[in-house]
Symmetry: C2
Subunit: 254 residues, 2 copies
């Protein structure tokens, strides 16, 4: 496995699968890496905590980082190249061109500028790695939609593959931010997937989910129309940690 | 020469040069086509009056169109493929992702949204045609800077080539909009290149150009720092026609 830190060292090759990550890898990332490994002759994983997609400096500062462990996991999963640039390699002085996905609902409203940062860094990674396929988790359902629309609107020659959310046995969706939860906070956080799951099939899923959040105050609970599918999505804050999750209501998140 | 109207029919090939145009071809475009022909084994010309870059509907409606003549010129200049899509081929229903080059001075201020439209369509064309090189005229100096910055910021694998402004013997920079000028308006319009040329070397080139515009009221006269070069740029309106021009003050518009 090769670790590449500069754009100049990065090589392109046919039949490449790209897994963009911000590190702090968990079993959700591993599912992405395995899907990529199965479908491509070469797998590139990016490892970059993208400052442009954090709307809160405190969240960026607290974001977990453990590169040595991430590289071990990548190696074990058969990754060929890890692209781990410094921030100024992707955002050099004078950087001024942004991709605006025009996303306004749910996460877009709750985190101003977040999807602009996501869309911009993903387009850069697509241009740098030139993958045939790129892999994203269904946990970030809206992000998946933003990326699919970006690829369609800007005619980017890459296939976007969605991989199902991986959950712990207790139902909590895996997230790099889960490690920040105390034991009590984790118990509280379980209210989120339970409330979402309980609302599936209810004629008013938003009200049903809100009603069973057991006092957790959501940032939003919204039905998102993602084109091929509708999901019920919510964000909560437990202590200082912000968590999101979603369940499928209709269709398929392909 | 092949004329392609849908994205599906468009093929990519190595060593391709792209000349993006809005049609109404003149000798300035021919200079771009010849530069592309010289440096590439395959030349693709796009012919698309991009609605997204017009800030005024009246300007879009009045923009000259003569596809039959444009195709003749392209054929005579040895173009291999003309890509001439309808507007909804590039902007399908639900289109929502824009490239924002954050350009604020001169044309950016005078024509809100103009460079967003230019940047978005150019990125789309780069993704669709995947050229090795793309050709732009120095007459649109700020556009050239926007495109160069876009390519750098978003890591687009294309080389941007600048081609000098072509002028009529009387000094007027060629523009598809010149055909709209009456004989009297054309005489007035000549004040623009003359005022710019006269200002070169003056310690205050903006004041010098303004002072010799002979009563023409400019939309702006500005010194633009384009990185490698400084140009003195101006826009005027003669009758209902808007014209821009620029001269080099320092450096080189590579």
């Amino acid at each position: 496995m090769k670790v590449v830190r500069t754009i100049g060292e990065l090589e392109t090759a046919p039949a490449t699968g790209l897994v963009p990550t911000m590190g702090a890898l968990h079993a959700g990332h591993v599912a992405l890496l395995r899907a990529a490994r199965q479908e491509n002759s070469r797998v590139v994983m990016s490892l970059f905590v993208n400052p442009a997609q954090f709307d809160e400096q405190s969240d960026l500062a607290a974001y977990p980082r453990d590169e040595a462990r991430d590289l071990e996991i990548a190696e074990a999963e058969g990754v060929d190249v890890v692209f781990a640039p410094a921030a100024d390699e992707l955002y050099p002085p004078g950087f001024a061109t942004w991709v605006d996905p025009g996303e306004t609902g749910a996460e877009g409203a709750a985190r101003p500028g977040h999807f602009r940062g996501v869309a911009t860094v993903c387009l850069k990674l697509f241009d740098l790695v030139r993958p045939e396929r790129a892999y994203f988790g269904q946990k970030d359902a809206q992000q998946l939609t933003v990326i699919r629309r970006l690829v369609r609107d800007l005619n980017v020659p890459v296939e976007i593959r969605a991989v199902p959310t991986v959950r712990d046995p207790d139902g909590l969706a895996l997230s790099s931010r889960n490690g920040r939860l105390t034991r009590e906070e984790r118990q509280q956080a379980l209210g989120l997937p339970r409330a979402l799951a309980a609302a599936v099939g209810d004629p008013d899923p938003v009200a049903a989910a809100r009603g069973s959040l057991n006092g957790l105050e959501p940032e939003y609970v919204e039905v998102l129309d993602l084109g091929d599918a509708k999901v019920l999505a919510a964000a909560i804050r437990v202590g200082s940690t912000r968590l999101i999750d979603n369940v499928l209501l209709e269709g398929e998140l392909t």
